[in-house]
């Protein structure tokens, strides 16, 4: 063999040996591994660059306090750039490494991994996205949305509008502006059903992908339709443009409520800053702002290390959702360790651990989350935070709305979807 081929071959051989050695070394100490899919690149990087550090910081905080019953938690982060095949590869990798579960990232990825989770009896979380019907734990035993799904969000938005408009929606007009993809369509059936029972008129305004121009929709809402309330369910760049467009056309942002993915600080900044967005109502499944014990504890942890907290922390909405995701996993593992009597828990025990979570609030950052075998959504709680000055201030307590109707829909849809695939 000539040197031309020999060198790269030797190098790659060396690399292969080193990788195997590194894998072997990881397994040795007392750690519990979670597979963590989190996209800092790709379509949702605005969310991921803030959310992923939040999850890590929470887990680092727990580990710095001695871990969970002496077990350290390791979240092995991987980035899919919002594509499906890497999500499958990395799930298989995490499973091989002995992960007790997986944090999923993205709706198509959740759909693609769902059947694998069930086969492998491996719990997975999809906070605020994924399959809405998977709240029904009976039909989706290993998938945990752990936060209000789009149906709960849609119902809560209608309830909020009702309260803001004096307790009745009879004869009122509501505009629903949404991103024209499956996730954007998702809350629609719930809102349409409520339009009938509550007696309001509903008009929809679709924003076609990639959602970089909403001028005609905002003009039509603010100048032609002139609704009493607007529900904004857009993603990506669109929310900032919706805020800006409605404001420019003279529509009061007090009468706009955004669902959870149109509710970040980045959307407010993109619209032109706090000053522009005054009064804008954002829906959250994890509290916004910094005034929570757990956030203070993370700041203290950084201070102790002599470092400044990460910049991502300033985007409190997504960062706090990352913290919430980490905290729910820690709690599930804590419960699982009770079941396993201090041994390393199996994925099934972690699944059971999720279903033992009761009224877990994390010092107010979270709603009173209660996950049961039947309800993997955790109650479907949300809270509205309003742009006031340079903060997101709570405008309501944690609440949920039209719960029976939403749960009924979850169960019926879940039964329908899963019956066909078995």
């Amino acid at each position: 063999m000539t040197p031309k081929f020999a060198r790269p071959l030797a190098l790659s051989l060396g690399a292969a040996i080193a990788i195997t050695a590194a894998w072997a070394a990881q397994a040795a100490d007392k750690t519990i591994l979670i597979g963590m899919q989190c996209d800092r690149t790709g379509a949702t990087q605005v969310v991921g660059t803030k959310l992923c550090p939040g999850t890590h910081d929470l887990i680092d905080l727990i580990n710095s306090q001695g871990g969970v019953d002496g077990w350290k938690i390791d979240a092995e982060e991987v980035d899919n750039a919002y594509q499906v095949p890497p999500a499958i590869e990395e799930y298989a990798h995490a499973k091989q490494e002995g992960a007790v579960g997986i944090m999923i990232y993205g709706t198509p990825q959740t759909g693609a991994l769902n059947q694998r989770l069930e086969q492998d009896k491996m719990p997975g979380t999809s906070p605020g996205f994924g399959i809405a019907a998977s709240a029904a734990g009976k039909y989706f035993p290993y998938l945990f949305p752990i936060a209000a799904n789009y149906w709960s969000q849609g119902a809560a938005a209608v309830k909020f509008a009702k309260d803001q408009l004096g307790g009745s929606l009879q004869g009122k007009k509501i505009a629903y502006i949404f991103y024209d993809n499956p996730a954007g369509h998702e809350p629609l059936p719930v809102i349409q059903a409520l339009a009938k029972t509550e007696g309001f008129e509903l008009q929809t305004f679709a924003v076609p992908p990639p959602g970089v121009d909403v001028s005609s929709q905002t003009l039509a809402i603010a100048q032609q339709y002139r609704p009493d309330f607007v529900i904004d369910h857009t993603f990506g760049k669109a929310p900032a443009l919706v805020i800006k467009g409605l404001k420019e056309n003279g529509y009061s942002l007090n009468k706009v409520v955004a669902l959870v993915w149109a509710s970040g600080e980045a959307d407010i900044m993109g619209a032109g800053g706090w000053g522009v967005a005054q009064g804008y109502n954002t829906m959250q499944f994890a509290g916004a702002g910094e005034n929570y014990p757990v956030i203070k504890a993370i700041q203290a942890m950084y201070q102790k290390k002599g470092q400044s907290p990460p910049a991502a922390m300033q985007a409190t909405v997504y960062y706090n959702r990352g913290v919430e995701q980490g905290a729910v996993w820690v709690e599930a593992i804590r419960n699982a360790l009770k079941l396993s009597h201090g041994q390393k828990p199996t994925p099934s025990q972690v699944k059971a651990g999720f279903e033992m979570i009761r009224d877990y609030t994390l010092g107010g950052l979270m709603p009173p989350l209660t996950i049961t075998a039947a309800d993997h959504e955790g109650g479907g709680w949300v809270r509205i935070f309003r742009v006031t000055g340079e903060h997101l201030d709570p405008a309501t307590p944690w609440f949920r709305a039209y719960r029976n109707m939403v749960v009924d829909k979850e169960d019926k849809t879940a039964e329908q979807v899963t019956a066909k695939s078995n």
């Binding site: 081929f5 690399a15 080193a18 990788i19 590194a22 894998w23 996209d39 800092r40 690149t41 992923c52 550090p53 890590h56 982060e77 991987v78 980035d79 750039a81 594509q83 499906v84 095949p85 890497p86 499958i88 590869e89 990395e90 799930y91 298989a92 990798h93 499973k95 091989q96 709706t107 198509p108 759909g111 693609a112 769902n114 059947q115 694998r116 086969q119 399959i131 809405a132 019907a133 024209d180 993809n181 499956p182 996730a183 369509h185 998702e186 849809t413 329908q416 979807v417 899963t418 066909k420 695939s421 078995n422």
Partner: protein, 355 residues
Amino acid sequence: MFHSETRIFKTSYAADMALFPLPIARWAMAGLAFVFVVVVPLVASPYLMTLLNLVLIAVVGAIGLDILVGYTGLISIGAGGFMSVGAYTAANLVVRLGLPFWVAIPAGGLMAALVGIVVGIPSLRIKGIYLAVATLASQFIIEWLINHVTWISGGIEASIQVPPPVVFGYKLVTPQQLYFFLLFFAVVAIVATLNLVRSRIGRAFIAIRDQDIAAEIIGINIFRYKLYAFAISSFYAGVTGVLYTYYLGIANYEQFGIDVSINYLAMIIIGGLGSVQGAVFGAAFITLLPEATRLFLTDFGGAVFSQDTIRQLVPNLTLILFGGLIIFFLIVEPEGLNRLWRNIRNYFRLWPFSY
């Protein structure tokens, strides 16, 4: 050297065109078959099997696109759209009518071929970059239709869950079981294409690619053969979509977006246009590269960076490396991985008597 090419003479056209031009090719093929059918399933972990399975699916799609782009010279950025046509056709047939996979897979392919023809008829009067834009439009039209027509998409998040394929009463669920399922279709795709391109139709494709006016003058009905190419290529794309649907247990058009179409184009360009082998190489390369770079960076980055920095860096470095390697290959070997492989092979063919 363990084999010699002396005393091998070809005396007929048939021998010249044979699938195995040299006796050693038969042995090599038998060896490869042994490795992939016996050795790999015995040795590989479920994780490696998962990687291989994704490669096998990509192989079918890449070969299909290569028939259109590499052999016929028609650029298409709409492969993802045809994949979703196949995926939803099969999903609906399986869920609503309870049909087995051996009906659903060809049906998905045929429906995609039909849509391919519909798209092809107006599109094929134009060439080059114009055709590329027309196929891009087809991608968006198909996406829009699936998103808005609930009769196709099932109505719930535009996704339909499908049960795993059943072969002789066994449900295929583990990576190993699915491996054999996918391997079968990948092999069928490879063999069928190798035979297609040395047939009358395949030669017509190549003639059209090399010089369409000359092809027309020697009596090839350009429009018809272009349409054949479109239909066959779409058929492969449709089958890829069905295989994906079975593999993931769900049909969802968001998995077949424009980025997927471009990835498949990247596969055949990096592999080497106009060669089945190249498409296979490219499919493997593009599927495995992100995972390989990620593993490499997470395992070796620790020596240089802190854990926190790695988390920030790895996703972005993976993208940079991915783009960089594609540019590197295009500059160093524009004819792709296939050419690289042939260079190595030719070197050893004469070794040690290179001069």
